[in-house]
Structure formats: C-alpha cells, structure tokens
Symmetry: C2
Subunit: 342 residues, 2 copies
C-alpha cells in the first residue's frame, strides 16, 4: 500500500523540488517498510502516484548507481531460487546488503506468474541485510521491466550494494534483464545436450557468466557441457568470452569461485570503461522506450487520428486495406496543423 503520508499538494513536478519525500528519508535511513512502500508507489499506475514516484526517483537519483547489478536467468527447474538464496546468504554473511528483484514474463494469456511464489528463498528473505521483491503481478513485459529499472534505483538509494534481478529463461525476458544489469548470468542444467549448442547464439550471447548448476547430479555431463559451451563461446557484447563454471547451489559448492569470477569480471569491465559504457546504454534505452510509449499515447489522442482510426482499422482488419496504406493515411492526419490551412 502506498502511504498516505504523501505531500498533500506537489508544488512542482521538476526535479530538485525542495520538499523531500518522506519515503526518501525512510529509504535513506534503511527503513525497509519505506522501501516496500516506495516500490509499491512506482508500481502504481494511478496518475497521482506516478507523479509522486517520478519526483521520488529524481530525488533518489544522486544516491543510486553504486551497486553491482547482477542479472540471473535460466529455465524453471535449473535451480535459480536455490542458487540466489545460497549466493545471497553467502554475500550477507560477508557484510553485503543484497536486494533481489524479479522480472516475470507473466503469461500474455493466463496472467499467471512463473516466479511469483513468495515462499521461495525463505532464509534469505528473513535476513535483515536482504530484501526480496517479487515481480509486479500485472503489466506487459516492457512495463514490468520499466518498473524493475526504477526499483533498482530505489534499492540502491536504500543502501543495497548488490542487486540481483532474476528472470526465467523463456521469451524475451532475458534481454530485458540483461538490459538493466551490469553482468548477466545464465544458469544451465548439466545434461541439456542439444539445447546448449542451440542457445549458443541466442541467449548465451548475452551471458557474461554461464553457470552449470546441479553439477553434483551428473558430474561427467556437467564437465562435458562446460567444455562444449566454453568451446562454442565467442566474445560477448562486453568484449570478452564468458566464463563457464560448474557448481552445485544446493550443496553450496562453487559459490565462492562464482563470486570471485563476478568480481573479477566487474573489475575488468570497470578498468576498460565498459562498465560505465554499458550503464549509459541502458539509460539511453530506457529513455527511448519511454519515448515510444508517449508517442503512441499522443497519436491515439490526436482528434483527427482518433476520428479516422476506427474505420481505417476496420478496413485493415477486414483485409480490404493494406496496413502500409492505412498507416500512410493516418500519418497524414497526424501532421501538425499548419496555420494556412485553417
């Protein structure tokens, strides 16, 4: 629930407003309830909530950016929850503060959630230095990803220095996660066979680290998969071939090694400037996503377009007019009205 302690009237929607949102004060002081409320606020689609969310985010901006953002993906059954819980517990024991967010490509048809189970990661969830937030339960993948981007900023401003963004390995959610994290980790099963090769130019291309989990189940298959994947790799978008390693999250084997590699990769990226470069690209992509959304809203609200849209759309839907022709007509109507024609 969004607190009703919101400023009664927001005097100015510009960044730098002198009235500091009490939620920010809460965030900065480590109040977990304030953090939960702030995330609920940014997830709200109510217009007044949205306005307040934007001011809050602008005020939080100077306190963001210092965390390591880690994306983790893999098909259901690969052991993501076990892996994240084991990793998270190791990290909080080392003094880190760990936030876990999720992007769940909820069914476009059934509205279900693959990741939404709140009972997962119970041990980590109850740790004072950890914060776990399931994916927003509604909205398009794009909308969910946008909310998650904002949630990353909020947890950073609340002092979490490691942010894990989790997603399942279906559809396009991996690229959404890769697009908002610093390092992208792909979990694999030891005996995926064909699929490993299959993926090598798809999702694997986005991976900075490939982890063969459940390696204890079939050590031989895991070793084979490791060498196959390692051979198949080419430099990623970050300019280096991804590490491939085996571990067993359930047994806690290989987690320290995993974390060493993460730190090593992050350090290497920072040293070459690629770390910052990637974050810059992510800010840019976020901006363009928003532009897309706003343009569409503006188009639909344009009076002449609004009036002509239904009949033209109907002709298209009935197969009587090609979409290309329809769009040409509609775009002509969308032209800004010039004074001489009125």
């Amino acid at each position: 629930m969004v607190s009703d302690s919101s400023p009664a009237k927001v005097p100015c929607s510009e960044r730098g407003s002198s009235i500091i949102d009490p939620l920010l004060t809460g965030l900065r002081s480590g109040d977990r309830r304030a953090l939960a409320k702030a995330i609920t606020l940014i997830e709200s689609s109510r217009e007044d909530h949205r306005e307040r969310a934007e001011i809050l985010l602008a005020q939080a901006l100077p306190y963001t950016g210092a965390s390591l953002r880690l994306g983790i993906s893999g098909v259901p059954g690969v052991g993501k929850s076990t892996f994240i819980e084991a990793l998270g517990l190791m990290l909080v024991a080392q003094g880190h503060r760990v936030a876990v967010l999720a992007i769940d490509p909820s069914s476009r048809i059934h509205g279900g959630s693959i990741l939404g189970d709140k009972t997962r990661m119970e041990q980590l969830a109850s740790h004072p230095a950890a914060f776990i937030r399931p994916s927003p339960s509604s909205g398009t993948l794009g909308g969910v990803a946008a909310r998650t981007r904002e949630a990353v900023l909020l947890v950073e401003s609340a002092g979490f220095n490691i942010v894990i963004v989790e997603t399942v390995g279906v559809g396009q959610s991996e690229t959404a996660v890769a697009d908002l994290t610093d390092l992208f980790v792909l979990l694999q099963l030891p005996h995926a066979g064909d699929d490993l090769q299959a993926m090598k130019r798809g999702v694997m291309e986005w991976a900075d680290l490939i982890v063969i989990n459940k390696s204890d189940l079939d050590p031989e298959a895991a070793a084979l998969a490791q060498s196959q994947i390692a051979m198949a790799q080419r430099p990623t978008h970050l300019g280096q071939a991804p590490d491939v390693l085996r571990l067993s999250a359930l047994r806690g084997e290989g987690l320290h090694d995993f974390w060493d590699r993460v730190q090593h990769q992050a350090a290497a990226l920072r040293a070459t400037g690629r770390f910052d470069q990637r974050r810059q690209e992510q800010w840019r992509a976020w901006m363009w996503d928003l532009i897309h959304a706003r343009l569409m809203a503006k188009f639909c609200a344009h009076p002449a377009v609004h009036e002509a849209l239904r009949p033209i759309e109907n002709a298209v839907v009935e197969g009587q007019m090609l979409p290309t022709e329809a769009v040409k007509k509609l775009m002509r109507l969308f032209e800004p009205s010039s004074p001489s024609t009125h």
Copy 2:
C-alpha cells in the same frame, strides 16, 4: 535482384492504380523467378523499391488469404529442416503447392544466421510445386517479421496454398511467427525433461500442436514427454488444448497423422470463426507495428526535438537526468506548433 522492368514512373501511389505491375502478372502466372524477384523487392530498403513494393502488394491483396499458414518452431537440433522437408514432400505429392519462409532472429551482435543455410531441404527445394526462401539476412527481428508477412501475401498470390513459416526456438521469434500464421507447431525432443515443464507456460502457450520429433530415438522418453505435456496443457489462445503427438520425420513416421490433426484443427477453427478472428488480429497488429515505426521516425525528424535531443540524451546517459524527466521535456517540444506562439 530487382528487375529493371519496373514501371518507369509510378503515377499514383494509391491502391487500385490501373498500371498492373509486371511482377504481379508473373506471380499470377506461376513464374517462380517473378516470385523470387518480388520477394527481393519487398526486402529492399531503397525508397523507390519500397514504393513499388507497396503498390505491388496492394495489387496482389485480392489474391491473398486462401492458404493455410503454418508456423513451425523448435530449438536447433530438434529436426525442423528434416520435418519440413518430409512434410513438404508429402504435401506436394498430394497436389498441394508449398512455400517455406523463415524468420531468423539473426544475432543482434554478430549478424549471423541460424537458419540461413541454403543447402537445407534440397529435395523439397528442387520440387516444382515447392518454393523455399531463406530469411532476409539483415534487419531487426521486427523488420524481418514485417518482410515475412509481406512474403506470405506474395506466395499466396502466386498460388501456394500451404505456407510454412519456420523459426528457431530462441528469443521472441516464436511469437513473431505465431503472430503471422494460422496454426503454430512446436517441435520438441523426446528427452527434454525439465525443459518441457519449463516451457509449458511460455512458448507452449502459443502452440496449437506440439510434436515430439525423433521419437524413434527413445520411444519411452517420447511417450512420457507426450503424456507430461498433454497433462500440463491448458486451452490456448485459440480456445482449445493443443494436440501433442509423437513422430519421426527422419523415418517418415507419423506425418500423415500430423497432417490430419492440422486439417482437423483448421476446420474446427474455421467452424467457430476463430480462424478469421485470428487473421484479423494479425492485420491489426501489423498496422500498429507500422504506426510505431513511423511515429518514431517523425519524432526524430522534428526540428525542435532534433535540436534538443543530443544534450538531453547526454544528460540521461550521464545519469544526471532521469529518462522520465527527459522524455517530458522532449514531448513538450514535439507539440504541434500553435499559430499564436509564432
């Protein structure tokens, strides 16, 4: 190559132009070279080619729509080419004319092609009643899908009554294919284990038919997978649970049964009106995709936006301005100029 037999000057870009493009005459008379040229034309991004392509498509429109459009997906290694070739040969032997198009989510980084191998399906490719066209080798997934939608119309106007659109099971290309076909078929390996369950609410949701290929390799695993998938199914977007069947394309086992099911499903969909309904939705989606693209182009070309874009984008990229704030500023500049302010 696009023929230089194009009308020297296109007098009018409206549909219904009285000058019939010679390519259409070729298409309609079953000239395969004309079809190949027409597809090359629609794949071209040259502006004059694009104009001619749109007229050609508008002229071809009355002759389209009569085929059954079948989408086929599955990870590399699942045996798509073998399956499509075996199916295609069976269908041409029955008197059908079969066109095979491909949507290949070419690597966003390396520009490679997973499906582009022209030596595939050699027997089918050389059959006079078949036409095989690899995916456009460049462009975004959206662009490739748009070209494929147009190619479907062209092969239909050339008299092909079965159009197979193939894609690999990575990324979002399955939904692109499902969005332009009447029935979507997902190929699976018999021993995919966890992954089968994994996919059941992702891509499987789009499948009207699930085929466990290579069932001869491990009949027991295939039977188990079949029953697991069948149990896990829920009604799809077409309102019925997908059929799950086993076959071996390599041995030619199960293909007749597969085709019976396809025909049965298509008939059922036609009887309930869902067949047409789905095509209507596809026309609509195509229109909106185009609107998206045109709006973005218009935005970027707007003088005030163009001037302000770089500094604002730089502030965003440097983390000094939130994308939300930046977009608010840019959208204000994009407002149609009102006479009173000049």
